[in-house]
Chain length 152, copies 2
Amino acid sequence: MRHDSRLSRMLHVLIHMDRHNGSATSEKIAQMLNTNPVVVRRTMAGLREDGYVRSEKGHGGGWTLARPLEEISLLNIHRALGSPEVFAIGLAIDHPDCLVEQSVNAALRDAFTEAEAFLVSRFASVTIADIARDFDDRYSRCDQPQGPAACN
Amino acid sequence: MRHDSRLSRMLHVLIHMDRHNGSATSEKIAQMLNTNPVVVRRTMAGLREDGYVRSEKGHGGGWTLARPLEEISLLNIHRALGSPEVFAIGLAIDHPDCLVEQSVNAALRDAFTEAEAFLVSRFASVTIADIARDFDDRYSRCDQPQGPAACN
DNA sequence: TAGCATGTAACTAATCTTGTTACGGAATAG
DNA sequence: CTATTCCGTAACAAGATTAGTTACATGCTA
């Protein structure tokens, strides 16, 4: 079962956009994510619709942040991506009328519903600015001579 | 992203096996799950290795419960299935040396780790007998004349 | 108006899971 | 001891989903 890494990727992009503060073309972003411009446009479209980024055409165009990172939570981005399915494990619906299946699914549904509520509240409580601050910490530490080799 | 419904299906099967208490062939189970015998054997193999069911070859063979449902938790079955990935959302690893990616992934990993711990403890606290009891409730209720149409 | 950048549809490729076929081995009935 | 039944497993085919790609239209700016 393959992972959906769009959330991780979008957070990555938004922080880079903020720190480099300027506009970035889909081409540039695609290089950053090891993918291609069309995929970037597809993915960023949701963020634009929800007002977190803006896109401009023509010379000097590209993508820019529409709001400060303090005002964007992980949940906001999750939703902007269409609230993709969180779990890779799901319920069987082979015999919807079977009472055994109903009991099994009710039990599993309870557990997954609670776990998702937990995750959602966690996502709501973290802003991208929080993550960017953590990045600043790492960066200042690795800026030292004895720091890690790669700080791109 | 397609769901892995093996957990739900295996719980379903185990309860049926217990309530009908006798052995069931892969063929029978396959019919119950709208699938085919080879898939059943593949999936049940893990449960057998962990000692929850036994399989016997030849005439009158098939699958039987090796332990009472009281002693089998949802977590046991989850593990017997190889502890499949719980989440459909994952971390991007396009640039492992990029400190921004590291910060993003650290934040996401924290959230997912906690959510998974929650789910695991939930799974550990529910036995299949608990679910079977819930089934008994539903069954006794629907046994009434005014109950649901299908009580297979 | 030339060139750059996004928007989007349509198609291709890669991947993953499930379903299927085929055959081997073990147990049992008769 | 032989035919039948059933599991075990490998190997292959089919189906579904996602990411990647191509192509072309639109819009903006110099």
